[in-house]
């Protein structure tokens, strides 16, 4: 009996474990359904809380039909596999993913900069103060300047993400690099390594898993900036569609879109976790 009261040492059973972990999901869905049902009973044309059927219909349309500003080029009876690549959802996902991918690529130089700042005193002196300052700048409030510098096309959206997220990644890598025991660096030198051997083959190698984790934690920030950029000025993308649909309360598509984005982000996060484990099997999360 006493062991039952030892909460820290408790071991929930497998079934109970699973049930417990889904409880909040069930509660969320349940509350939504209840509210939606009540609102629809009061007003059958209600649009703020669509029913599940409406959302399923909305999402099927989004995934199978072209956006309204595009011409329908496929015959009515085309197969799902041919219709999906011509659909509104695919078009928006492609546009957003492209921007997302470019901004992820731009995080690579950020990691390298952080590494060099952590190891080379001159680089550190040159950059650190400025980046500490730059990190505190709220990028969104500088939009007009971004427009002048980068136009209103793709570049300004990617730059918004870069300005918003890279300082965090740089500083995080910098801190991680500073945390490498100096004995290791000295040891590497005594074994005949050069400066860059130490940087890339001793320090970077050890940092990588942590850096990947820090990028994973910043995925949401990347997406937030990307959404802000797409809502401000764009012709396609997931957030562009949401901004348009908001004009007439198209919640039956907005809610599935938001869940779709969540799913995509979850998949990116998952694949980064898997890659991290494959690349660095020796790594143990602290």
């Amino acid at each position: 009996m006493t062991s039952a009261f030892s909460l820290i040492h408790s071991k929930p059973g497998r079934t109970f474990d699973t049930a417990l972990s889904w409880l909040l999901f069930a509660a969320g869905v349940g509350i939504y359904l209840y509210v939606a049902q009540a609102r629809h009973a009061e007003n059958p044309e209600e649009r703020v809380t669509p029913t599940v059927t409406q959302m399923v219909n909305g999402f099927t349309d989004a995934a199978l039909k072209p956006a309204e500003d595009d011409e329908a080029t496929l015959p009515e009876n085309a197969s799902v596999f041919r219709r999906f690549p011509a659909s509104m959802l695919w078009k928006d996902t492609k546009a957003t993913s492209r921007r997302f991918f470019y901004s992820m690529l731009l995080l690579i130089p950020a990691v390298l900069l952080g590494l060099h700042m952590g190891l080379f005193p001159y680089v550190r002196v040159f950059f650190l103060r400025f980046i500490l300052f730059f990190d505190k700048i709220v990028a969104l409030s500088l939009l007009p300047i971004l427009f002048i510098a980068f136009g209103i096309d793709e570049l300004s959206k990617v730059m918004l993400i870069v300005i918003g997220v890279t300082p965090t990644i740089i500083l995080d890598t910098f801190n991680l690099a500073r945390g490498i025991p100096p004995e290791q660096v000295t040891k590497a030198f005594t074994l005949g390594a050069g400066d860059f051997d130490v940087a890339y083959r001793v320090v970077l190698k050890q940092l990588m898993p942590n850096v990947l984790n820090s990028i994973r934690l910043n995925l949401k920030a990347v997406m937030l900036f990307l959404f802000a950029g797409e809502m401000i000025a764009s012709t396609d993308g997931l957030a562009y569609r949401i901004a348009l649909l908001r004009r007439h309360m198209g919640m039956e598509i907005i809610i599935p879109y938001v869940l779709w984005v969540a799913l995509l982000l979850f998949l990116v996060d998952l694949s980064m976790r898997v890659i991290n484990r494959k690349l660095h099997p020796w790594f143990r999360e602290a």
Binding site: N43, P44, E45, E46, R47, V48, Q54, N57, G58, D61, E68, D69, L143, P144, F147, I148, G151, I152, D153, M231, I232, A233, S234, T235, Y240, A243, L244, R246, R247, H248, M249, G250, E252, I253
Partner: protein, 350 residues
């Protein structure tokens, strides 16, 4: 102690019962900023006291004000005829327009760089807030000039109104912009930008209304009717002040509501056809002209999917006019133009 508490509770309940409270939401626009002054000057309080109700006034950004109205968080709201149709009415919130305040008479405009013409816009980049009166204005401009077929080939960039002026001015690859005042005035100051089309060429199509939820007006205790009366009475008292002698002082004070100087507010009013007299407003609300214009607007809303994906026919969101005629299905009336309060104001019976 307990008795004091119960007494308190009873008092507050009865006080609540005595004085119903209503909230009006407004957003910054030449024809709506008067609400700022109505609230500040005490005119609205005077009328609310007369009808034994309490009226609260709250400023919003435009889109959130529509959301709040649809969600039934506020009882009355300022909006255009197009949004009244495609937001509350199409979301199944029956809505009644009680004041036709003004129409845009040049406030909204299509501006271009380098002397382009409407015919030359195909393939060019154009910034606008899509699915709003801006797109409607552009649609009408192209239709009137027999260029409808080219609308699809204009590359529209959906741009937030908070950034559209700087975005257009700083990015020279954008050839055209559709927006409204005071942004229009700000953009036109730049060299080489000309106006191709503005809302004075489609007078009376972009209306600025004060709307109330129909279920409020139909409240059995009649408090909703009193609310409409108080609001209309206060509105036309202010309209009298705005157009009467010594108006500048009032106008300057209204302009403060949108951080505008007197000169800039007057400039905006010069392209706004205000109905200063209740008589004029009621006459416009009852004219056959209104029906023709609303027909254009509702067809635009339907073809642009603004009435919702589940709305299969334009007639599903019907409009009723003061003479009782209905555009659409008579059992699906969602938007009404009711001039009775403007009539009362005109006759001085409020």
């Amino acid at each position: 102690m307990l008795r004091a508490f119960i007494l308190c509770l009873l008092l507050s309940v009865s006080a609540f019962g005595q004085k119903p409270t209503f909230t009006v939401g407004w957003s910054i626009y030449a024809g709506w900023t008067p609400y700022h002054y109505l609230n500040k000057s005490g005119i609205l309080r005077k009328w609310a006291d007369k009808y034994n109700i309490t009226i609260k006034v709250q400023r919003f950004d435009y889109a959130p004000s529509l959301d709040a109205f649809v969600a039934k968080n506020i009882d009355a709201c300022t909006m255009t005829n197009m949004e009244a149709l495609d937001m509350p009415a199409a979301s199944g919130v029956p809505t009644t327009a009680i004041i036709v305040g003004d129409y845009s008479n040049g406030n909204d405009a299509v501006l271009v760089r380098n002397g382009l013409t409407l015919g030359g816009l195909a393939g060019k980049k154009m910034l606008l807030v899509q699915k709003t009166v801006s797109e409607y204005l552009f649609d009408r401009a192209m239709t009137i000039n027999n260029l409808r077929a080219q609308i699809k080939s204009v590359q529209m960039v959906n741009t937030s109104d908070s950034d559209i002026a700087t975005a257009f001015l700083s990015d020279t690859s954008a050839s055209a912009v559709v927006t409204w005042k005071p942004l229009v005035s700000q953009i036109l100051k730049q060299k080489g930008i000309t106006s191709l089309f503005n809302s004075s060429q489609i007078p009376g199509e972009i209306l600025d209304l004060t709307v109330v939820r129909t279920d409020i007006l139909n409240r059995p205790d009649g408090s909703g009717q009193r609310f409409a009366k108080a609001l209309t009475g206060a509105w036309y008292e202010l309209m009298g002040l705005m157009s009467g002698p010594g108006a500048d002082k009032v106008l300057a004070s209204i302009g403060e509501g949108s951080s505008d100087t007197l000169a800039s507010y007057k400039e905006q009013l010069s392209t706004t056809k205000m109905f200063y007299k209740a008589q004029e407003a009621a006459a416009f609300g009852e004219s056959a002209d209104l029906k023709t214009k609303m027909e254009l607007v509702r067809q635009f809303c339907f073809t642009h999917n603004l009435l919702g994906n589940n709305t299969k026919s334009v007639d599903d969101v019907a409009i009723r006019y003061p003479d009782g005629s209905v555009q659409g299905k008579t059992n699906q009336v969602r938007l009404q133009f009711d001039t009775s309060w403007m009539q009362m104001a005109a006759k001085g019976t409020l």
